[in-house]
């Protein structure tokens, strides 16, 4: 597709379960970002990939959160032992990776932990 694609669009899970959120970036974009957005707040940075490697993971809140991008394209955000406080919209964005280039966002995955 032409834009950033995120699946699923909605995910409801029980507290304590494991979830995976997928992001398909724009073809050819080397940089990929994960953000988390709570209601009424701006997106909060989680992690940034340049190619296959995590260039900056300083935003991951704790070790229950992990993200991979094994082939430098699709990325998966993994959350273990989910908690109700993890409920939010998880946004993925990609850019060409050059300095000072715009990042394009997907529609997000709405995660609800019950």
């Amino acid at each position: 597709g032409a834009g950033v694609s995120q699946t699923p669009s909605n995910k409801v899970t029980e507290k304590g379960k494991y979830v995976e959120l997928r992001c398909d970036p724009i073809s050819g974009h080397t940089a990929l970002y994960w953000y988390r957005q709570s209601l009424g707040q701006g997106p909060e940075f989680l992690i940034y990939f340049q190619g296959t490697g995590a260039a900056d993971d300083s935003g991951l809140p704790n070790d229950r959160f992990f993200a991979v991008r094994p082939e430098g394209s699709v990325s998966t955000l993994k959350i273990q032992r989910t908690e109700r406080g993890d409920s939010a919209v998880y946004l993925c964005a990609s850019s060409q990776g050059q300095e000072n280039t715009e990042a394009f966002f997907g529609q997000g995955t709405r995660l609800t932990v019950v």
Binding site: V4, A31, Y33, Y35, G40, Q41, G42, P43, E44, F45, Y48, Q50, A55, D56, L91, A93, S95, G97, E99, N100, T101, E102, A103, F104, F105, G106, Q107, G108
Partner: protein, 115 residues
Amino acid sequence: GESVGLHLPTLSVQEGDNSIINCAYSNSASDYFIWYKQESGKGPQFIIDIRSNMDKRQGQRVTVLLNKTVKHLSLQIAATQPGDSAVYFCAEKVRERGATNKLIFGTGTLLAVQP
């Protein structure tokens, strides 16, 4: 249009008026800034960007102004339309430990356009 600071979350304007949305950024070393528009249930949509070597940039009906002295950014929307109703975020690219494209977002301003 009424100008507001980032601490005021809502800006209400009449259709056809000009809107000004303000943003104070945090890091004097930030060298790239973007304004995003976010409609309900959608991801942020790029509007316009500006680099720190500029103080003004114009797009279609939008203008971004950058004042590095006071670390202030504004988005001006001319002839505001109902379709402009959304939450607007400013984002800064923070340069730390060499080249990084991490974008830090502000809190956002809800723009409500009255017909």
